[in-house]
Subunit: 119 residues, 2 copies
DNA sequence: CCCACACATCGACGGATGTCAATATCGATG
DNA sequence: CATCGATATTGACATCCGTCGATGTGTGGG
């Protein structure tokens, strides 16, 4: 090469690209957020979440959720577990029945973050 | 059974569950939204989207995006294709270079929908 | 005490997904 | 035209994911 690296100006090193106007999402934040989105990225889980949120009192029992889908009971149980383990659904047992409720915090944070990228 | 079905009251048919306070997300809407969330549900794609949005002028060329990750060029190209095909990133070729820009509409809609489930 | 019921867990299977190396395409340049 | 550099496509591979049937767990009732 005819020039030493230290002589390269910024314009020469970025011939095609515009500079950054703000800090992009850090890798660590992306790794933390992606699992939440992955939990939401399924039609059945989206409907489950919405169905729980639509119930009066903010909670729904599993027997009611099972009936809303043409899927086996273990499959619904699996989806509820996924939503529960990532913090989007809370769980409480009362007698024989199990009730799930939407945790509003994570969902609101996600919505703000997604909407915020569009600026 | 000792009673005919028409004699069952609502209370008897829903012993454990609360009624619905509003309409849940229709299945068709869930099927339409889930692919967008699936596209977002990857740390690399989240960072790609944020990185494009962070560039001055709202667009970034691929060579710049490649350098931001420890991944092969085909892998970045694949992720950009996923984001482009679901409508989250726009693409324009200028000379040898390809520029991607964030489409604000779908992202804003998604953010509102996610935040809206929490009510 | 045993059974029925509500829900969770396990194991298996097929299909989708993220990654890479190799190769193709396509515009610019000499 | 030959070549180079930027980006896309292809094919292969390992892994992950959604689904089911079978089974386990715990509670309430007779």
């Amino acid at each position: 090469m005819s020039k030493s690296l230290v002589e390269l100006t910024p314009v020469e090193t970025v011939a095609c690209c515009a500079p950054l106007g703000r800090q992009p999402l850090p890798a660590a934040a992306a790794e933390r957020i992606a699992p939440l989105l992955k939990a939401l990225a399924d039609p059945v889980r989206l409907r489950l979440l919405s169905l729980v949120a639509s119930h009066v009192g903010g909670e729904a029992c599993v027997c009611d959720l099972n009936d809303a889908f043409d899927l086996s009971q273990p499959t619904i149980s699996h989806h509820l577990k996924v939503l529960h383990e990532c913090g989007l659904l809370g769980r409480s047992k009362r007698g024989v029945w199990v009730y799930y409720r939407v945790e509003p915090g994570p969902l609101a944070d996600l919505g703000a973050l997604i909407g915020g990228v569009a600026t």
